[in-house]
């Protein structure tokens, strides 16, 4: 599998090139910021009618990661839906698809700022999830330890000898991991932004997603 191993709180975690995080020992696959239904929400609010294919594209990639890892637990780390209306408006085919993915495994929806409330889909709805030594929550808390969070959609820009390359990235230090956004219609926040630079320890690393994940010291 195309993955980069991270030692974290005494665990071996695998940062996948797709932007998902896998904890093999516990069979947990974590994905963040799916933003399903984003195109529906934009159209509903009078904006442009974006190609309505982001949910199926995101689910296709998620299904592939589930197949590859055989995960027993799925943690969606918040902002899984672009808003609660978008969750309610998911087309039947896509709701059934999510149900199929949920079959036979534990599924946890963590609440995010976009989807703060229960949705009418299977799985547990939690503000946060503790699985010692890890805590899964949407937005990182100052001073937290063993924390896996999302929200910021971090991306890292690396200047190589030929050009600068920008990719969504995991940020990790000894206390926390900030996950890249997994959804198809998502952008990124450069990790040298004050919000991220201030959150991470000086010795933090970034793992760039892509065909092969690459670990580098977090660019600042």
């Amino acid at each position: 599998m195309n993955a980069c191993d991270l030692s974290f709180c005494g665990l071996r975690l695998r940062a996948l090139g797709s932007g998902a995080l896998f904890w093999p020992e516990a069979g947990v696959l974590c994905v963040s910021d799916l933003h399903l239904g984003k195109s529906e929400r934009m159209a509903r609010r009078g904006g442009a009618a974006l190609p309505p294919y982001e949910t199926r594209d995101t689910l296709t990639r998620l299904a592939a990661d589930l197949d590859a890892t055989g995960a027993r637990v799925v943690v969606c780390l918040g902002d899984s839906f672009d808003d609660l209306g978008a969750a309610a408006a998911l087309p039947e085919a896509e709701r059934l698809w999510i149900t199929r993915l949920q079959a036979g495994r534990r599924w946890v929806w963590i609440e995010g700022n976009h989807d703060a409330g229960p949705v009418d889909l299977g799985g547990a709805h939690l503000a946060e999830l503790a699985m010692a030594p890890l805590t899964f929550r949407h937005i990182a808390l100052a001073g937290a330890v063993g924390e896996i969070s999302g929200h910021y959609h971090p991306k890292a820009v690396i200047r190589t000898r030929a050009r600068a390359i920008s990719r969504p990235a995991f940020l990790a230090d000894r206390d926390r991991i900030v996950m890249p956004a997994y959804g198809t219609y998502t952008g990124g926040l450069r990790c040298d932004d004050a919000a991220l630079a201030g959150l991470m320890r000086p010795d933090a690393v970034a793992v760039l997603t892509g065909a092969v994940p690459h670990m580098v010291p977090m660019p600042r």
Binding site: E40, A43, A49, L50, H153, I165, D193
Partner: protein, 801 residues
Amino acid sequence: MSALPQLITDWFAARGWQPHPHQLAMLARAEDPATLLIAPTGGGKTMAGFLPTLAELATHPHAGLHTLYVSPLKALAADIKRNLTGPVTEMGLPIRIEDRTGDTSATQKRRQRVDPPHILLTTPESLALLLSYEDAPRIFAGLQRVVVDEIHALAESKRGDQLFLGLARLQGLCPGLRRVGLSATVEDPAAIARLLARHPDPCAILQADPGPAPDIRMLETAEAPPWAGGGAAYAIPAVLEQVKAHRTTLIFHNTRAQAEIFFHNLWLANDEGLPIGIHHGSLDRLQRQRVEAAMVRGELRAIVCTGTLDLGIDWGDVDLIIQIGAPKNVKRLVQRIGRANHRYNAPSKALLVPANRFEVVECVAALEAVREGALDGEPRGPGPRDVLCQQILITACAGPFDAEALFAEVTSAGPYAALTRAEFDACLDFCATGGYALAAYDRWRRLMQRPDGLWQLRDPRAVTNIRMNIGTIQDTDTLQVRLRRNRGGKPLGEIEESFAATLTPGDTFLIGGQIVKYEGLREMTVEVSRDARKKPRIATFMGTKFATSTQLSERILALFAQADWPQLPAHTADWLSLQREVSRLPQQGRLLVESFPFDTRAHTCVYGFAGRNAQQTLGLLLTNRLEEMGLHPLGFVATDYATLIWGLDPVEDPAPLFDAARLREGLGTWLAGNAVMKRTFKTSATIAGLIERNRPGGRKTGRQATFSSDILYDTLQKYDPDHLLLQITREEALRGLVDFGRIEEMLARIGTRIDHVRLDRVTPLAAPMLLEVGKVPVNGAAEERLLAEEAARLLETAGIG
């Protein structure tokens, strides 16, 4: 009406003037539904356009808007207002003249809608916005005439397509509307007349006396131009001498970046402190207006400028035009040099300054063409459908509409005369539902059909979004540059977002002629401080990049074939000889390919002479083949003459790369995934209203809420490959950016006659290519290899690995 009212005859007589014959001819045709006037700059063209208006208003008092004047430039609207107000005041005519552009204040704009002036001077975008208001019928009630200035420039772009759709709309509101087009010298006036007139109305073409032939030469300098580069710094002393010897000089550049660098160097050498200004589209509006005002007052001896000053603005007594860099296109050159000596029957004086030795050849070829009066130009295809989509949305903003009537209106616009109903319906469906194979937006459709059959916006909030995104000018995303707040916070201008992304604190660049240091990004503003000590990094502003015409390319190849070059300066002749010695010169009927290492990468240069767009496509196709062959291409850059490709591994044998069948076969699939197609898609998707550049409550933050248009493109390619916007993207790319026809033509021309020259260093002819802007990256295996290398290096440095 053909008689000039006494009032106006007296005004001419009092100045010892009399109207030009073409001005009287325009008056004689004042009742025609459409008239096109071809006249050189300075030929009293504007007066010719307005004379019928003045005559009508002098004799028949009129309430409300009488004449609408549309020009491609805001500055031109302001300029005409000044030049028209003078005579009108002197004639004592009760005529109110106002301009309305993006620079007009909101208060003034509101007042104009309630109480329109007799003559309104505006731009295509401001007109489109006016037409989107519910009260458009009232604003334009009584409108008699519309004057389209510099129509030759508009006719070449989507701004023109939008304008001609706007005229069709206006004609619906004001059935008696008469249209006048004012054009510089062009190669095919009839084509422009067809765009101007309501289809299928006739349109008379009047030709003014073209005036004396221009006095145009290449600037002689003591120092030879450099081998490469676009700065023309070598010519600074000679240019300063010319500025001193003339009253007012306009110094034209092809790009904003070049203008900035040249201006900077000019000031460093300006020991006498001559008043010299800079003017280009990236500068802050107040700065531009200050320069314009100083120019009008005759306070400036020279202005360093770009295409923003290209058109017929009459600013004082310009007696010399200097063109820095090759003119690329004979027609544009002729139009540009017409800017000097705005007095009829005085020859325009112009100097060409080649920026490097290749451009010496180009300049000589262009001078020959000007002397022969050989203008170049290629016909434009039918009106693009992305502009039509925007027009449908604009129409919907103004109120409910009938599809049948709108189709009839649209096809009365010249560019859309051949539009089929099916094509129109596809655009309407795109505007209404997104036009996706998956019908996802039944509930949230943008347009809906009412029980009475009329179409209207579902959500009235959409009006604001649509209005904020009117226009077809596609500036790349730009960020405002300001001095850091505690030092004044003065806005300096704009730079491209992609350029800003490469800056790290402490980097320096030029803007508005000063060197500034990048301090940081605050919200969406680039904060800088003044820094006079360092040499700047170069700002990669967008500038209009002209493509060299076929005619010029052919003239250059013919020049290369000569045994020696008596018409070229010795330095350039020597340079071509050197190229002939170390490699060879490109020839008609053969293809020269050079391979050499440079800057840790393998380079291959293909001299196809097929024009910039075809050379660009060739770059895409060739890098795809190289990727397949495992040679790790990294990118390429194309000029009108050649494509330079670089990668991690060298090309051993280029012949298989030019197999016509394979190139053709791969075109469809290769095109789908490349950066040029994505760039084209972004432009069309923005015009068609799928991507909103501006949102209420400030521009997009560029943070996690937004995502790249490339994602939309990839998603459509994957799930909806026949979608309207992908069709438009392919059409646009094939006609503009792809130009595969020229590649076929080149392949037929060269047959199997490919000359591969392998060298251990850059050749004289290839050197300028390395400095070309507009490099296209290739995202292939090389990227992974580079990332792996750099990641390993960084980890090692950090001691983590």
